[in-house]
Symmetry: C2
Subunit: 189 residues, 2 copies
């Protein structure tokens, strides 16, 4: 490695993804009255996945789950944050294009690895993806419950929609969904 | 798990560590003119550790490295961010106390696991810790180089100190240090 060409390509990617620190989400922090950005969210759920792995409904590879969660929102550099209750079909295509552009900055075999892993996360068909998606869902849900459902009210999301969309938590982490469901029922009473 | 007591303890920890999103560092983002917080930094270096693992000087367990990096700055909730060039002995004791308080929120066996992992990172004696520390060092160094050494000038850090402190990168990732050293030499010319 005399000329660091490969490393410089990897560093271009590392600098490009820095931009998720400026993609702000709909939900607010637990600890401060401001919206959360995608880097903070990704850090938090990667750690949550480790702490809560005992609740995964099926055997998982925690290392793959954490990697999925670290990269899952990178596409939003191009597409922006969209509230999950309002995602349409055009959105899926835009995210696919973003994944190809952004991960495509990396050396070929790393680009392929991350695009595949991101698609696996989006498809929610493997155990790893289902558990990762459950953790990605439970964090904003807990944030929202922590603030009495503020963001849902602001965006006109009805209790029934909240329960429907978040029931996806149960696919990857059944006991976590039981807990969240109980808390939502109390909140919406 | 009828009463979710253990889960609620784990969620207390997850909410407590949210506060690292308000611990701002000395260095600024690559992509925007503002300081970076510890959650953003931790996300970035966890991902960098994965992307750059081929440069680890010795065999590493990337899953342990990533976990180390996700938790390494949590102690700063109690101690605040200290520029690496000015860390003293009292600081080490304060961090140890913070680790015991914050990870101590978790169920015992998880608390023990994370305190041990955090101490391993700080000690920089294992292959995993040396590589993790190299990645933790290289990120602010790249950010600073990206801005022509701005933060170092602001804090009166001399080129010789920059090279001395960052040469630690070479312990965990020799080729990354060769690259950084070349870039620093050009910058300080």
């Amino acid at each position: 490695m005399r000329d660091f060409e490969r490393l410089e390509v990897q560093l271009s990617f590392i600098k490009e993804v820095d931009r998720i620190k400026s993609i702000f989400r709909k939900s607010k922090l637990f600890s401060a009255e401001r919206h959360e950005n995608d880097a903070e969210h990704s850090w938090h759920i990667a750690l949550m996945a480790i702490i809560l792995q005992e609740y995964a409904g099926r055997p998982i590879d925690i290392s793959r789950v954490v990697t999925m969660l670290l990269i899952h929102d990178i596409v939003e550099i191009d597409t922006g944050d969209t509230i999950i209750y309002k995602k349409g079909h055009g959105h899926v295509e835009a995210e696919e294009k973003a994944a190809r552009r952004i991960f495509g900055i990396l050396p070929d075999e790393q680009a392929d690895y991350f695009i595949d892993l991101w698609r696996e996360f989006e498809a929610r068909e493997s155990n790893d993806a289902r558990y990762a998606a459950a953790i990605d869902r439970i964090q904003p849900c807990l944030q929202n419950m922590h603030r009495g459902g503020e963001t849902w009210r602001e965006h006109g999301i009805k209790p029934q929609q909240v329960i429907e969309v978040n029931s996806q938590i149960g696919e990857g982490a059944p006991d976590l969904w039981k807990y969240v469901k109980r808390e939502l029922d109390t909140l919406f009473e």
